[in-house]
Symmetry: C2
Subunit: 449 residues, 2 copies
């Protein structure tokens, strides 16, 4: 047997042709979205003006299965199906009886799982005759994916990129620009909201929430534009289920079933994509643990409350019921930019609330330590977001060692860290520090890395 | 049919188990290497002290086939066999009747084809009981590959990185350091040669040749160390033949044969790896064109002479017969750092000299233009080195259009450009300029980007 790895490849002609919608499988119906301007449940008109008609329909669909359009399947073939790889070297290093498998999503041209939804959203926007999409991006994984998707389907794209990432990660910006997108730092000067935030604090690091507010304002000012989101919404999580669906096929090929499904959670798209195709089994008695791994500095599932809150910092977007740290919370600028969000997707919040999903949080130095260990054993350099999942997996595998349990642990390798090497450089130089979670109100004094 | 791409995957159990040695197939025996200290042909002792015994044996082997050790095959399985992808979108964009295929080597953990040889060299060094390897790297593709390979097989590694790249591409350095390597800028202060060069010119940008000189000096000072090279030597080119061997299998699966085999050439490892497995066919009458693409600013095959010259800038390493611009030539700091070498591998030089290999050279702005076009059509961001091959392919495909010829063009997608985004950023901003080839002696005045 190979001492480093094993892998299970799904042939292209067996790639799933439908997405799986987890909503109808939930024990209770989701709470409605609230229109912040009326405090009433949102109307279909509201959502169709915000997103595309197709996205609005998918958002509230109760169909179990939704067909993937052929042009999107064609584009998926650029890199899908993704391999399922067994981290044998990691198992040996940890001396664990558990099997550690990962779904390797980093092989996508844009570098992460985000492209699964970006291609779908760009396709539908083009089909409905829109000329432009507007979006927010944290670390830039989503922005890169949508920039490529818009280029492939012939749409303009404006990206509001969290200011801390815009400056820390210029490579991500260059990549989006190479794909043809226009990139603005958020908060920035192109929106009234952004100008207001900067007037109060010219050094505001931004967050996913400020970028969402600026995107909303921009879309509302341009009738030909629609908003596109890389997480949060049901439709976006739906598109990611191709991950879990492929995984089911691959595990069936080797006659295994997951005891643990592990993913990092910023908003929840990679966790939902990995796990919802296994949710009905779980509700019917399978004992799989769904484990969300969060950054200690911004951990709504672990430290937040389950309640209504706004999706964006300005409180001008829809309100949803989910786990949140409060929409005015500005996460410290940790290096896992994609996890800097005050809340999480309503579907993920509901799964946590109903006991389907567990969570754990780690400080970033431990997370990078896990990432470097993985890179040295397996070569692939994980994104800081993905390092969170790896840290969670290491602790589970060590638990299995104590329990002498040969569990099957599967994590989603959501993206590569090649554009995050600045952060690795700082970690290697011993310059990374952890944020004191107790004192968020002294944030400015604690800005890290 | 998919309008974007087609792909041919070789199953893991059909991955070649042997490398192909092109030397015995050449019409004439290669010229001997010359020991610069004696002006006589090198002895086996000389080569075994420089490299490992296994490398010395492979360097002069006349066996057609050489078995790949099982631990190297196991490591290859991390990402091999690599896919053969048809660039349908590119064909449509160029409106050419030609088929454009590429062997996608960028999926390797270190990001390029270089890992094919790095793993073999690290394995043999460990087996022979050495504790340390020393190497030179230009753009950092080779250094990253060897850093990972040394980490996996338990060896220390010192990397001399061309100073221009060390500063322009810190991400590459961080990656090597994450894998556990020690990285020095070349010219640098750890060697006598480096200190001498810096004394003459503190701003010397370095070159592959200065890095080779420093590596040689370092290896000669440490009996436990051996040198490892990422191109140039026959053994290194041998390890890359896994590319062309897989390609043969994949083309056979779709019943095609290449009319053109295209690769960028810095020293020649990716060109040799792609093409030598087709060389016997060519010598027996197949009409495949082997096309080497060089940067206009440093094009030994296109503008150099075929003669004896030294491998390194100091003239202290072995001398070989090959195409060269002279070992004292300092290539301008173009962004394709991996192509900044005054000469080329002796095997490649001989292939060119004997009419087996053709070459063409392009200025870097045209090369980046080709790379951006490819990225927008296919998503994958090519390394600047790979962009050279793409530019060559575009021109061939347009030629085929004029000739109404449905030729099969295959190029080696040698590596990704994700750690070269600084260069793309400059290209996007209109800041890249081409070097005036006429006036190399005024190099300092023309330093680009």
């Amino acid at each position: 047997m190979n001492t480093l790895l094993d892998r299970v490849d799904l042939p292209l002609d067996q790639m799933p042709k439908r997405w799986y919608n987890g909503i109808p499988a939930l024990p209770t119906a989701p709470e409605p979205y609230i229109d912040s301007t009326t405090d009433a449940p949102v109307t279909l008109d509201y959502v169709e003006r915000l997103w595309t008609k197709a996205m609005a329909a998918q958002e509230f669909s109760l169909d179990r299965w939704i067909s993937i359009p052929q042009p999107v399947l064609d584009a998926y073939a650029m890199w899908r199906p993704t391999p399922l790889i067994r981290a044998v070297a990691m198992e040996r290093y940890l001396d664990t009886p558990a099997q550690i498998w990962f779904k390797y999503e980093a092989t996508s041209p844009s570098g992460s799982h985000k492209l699964n939804s970006a291609l779908a959203q760009a396709y539908y926007a083009k089909r409905e005759g829109h000329s432009r999409l507007v979006t927010d991006t944290g670390a830039g994984q989503w922005g890169s994916a949508l920039a490529l998707a818009c280029q492939m389907f012939g749409l303009d794209l404006s990206v509001f990129m969290v200011r801390a990432s815009y400056h820390q990660k210029p490579y991500r910006r260059y990549l989006m620009e190479t794909y043809g997108a226009q990139v603005h730092p958020s908060p920035g000067v192109t929106t009234e909201y952004g100008r207001g935030v900067l007037a109060d604090n010219p050094d505001h690091p931004g967050s996913e929430a400020t970028a969402v507010s600026e995107s909303l304002e921009t879309v509302r000012a341009d009738p030909a534009a629609r908003m596109s989101v890389g997480a949060f919404s049901n439709h976006c999580l739906l598109h990611q289920t191709i991950i879990g669906l492929e995984l089911r096929e691959q595990l069936a090929m080797i006659d295994r079933y997951p005891d643990y499904l592990v993913a990092s959670v910023g908003c929840g798209s990679n966790m939902a994509g990995l796990s919802t195709p296994f949710m009905e089994d779980k509700l019917n008695g399978s004992e799989t643990t769904f484990l969300a791994v969060e950054p200690e500095a911004c951990a709504p599932l672990t430290y937040g409350e389950y309640r209504f809150d706004y999706a964006d910092a300005a409180g001008s977007g829809p309100g949803v019921c989910t786990y949140t740290l409060g929409h005015e919370f500005v996460p410290p600028p940790i290096h896992a930019g994609g996890l800097r969000y005050h809340g999480c997707a309503p579907l993920i919040g509901q799964m946590r609330h109903q006991g389907i999903l567990d969570s754990v949080a780690y400080p970033q130095t431990q997370v990078f330590d896990a990432g470097v260990t993985f890179a040295r054993l397996h070569g692939f350099l994980p994104a800081p977001e993905t390092c969170h999942a790896i840290k969670g997996v290491i602790d589970l595998a060590l638990q299995c060692k104590e329990q002498k349990r040969d569990a099957t642990i599967v994590f989603n390798y959501s993206g590569h860290g090649l554009l995050d090497l600045e952060a690795y450089g700082r970690y290697n130089a011993g310059e990374l520090r952890d944020v004191e979670v107790e004192s968020f109100d002294e944030r400015e004094a604690q800005v890290v890395g």
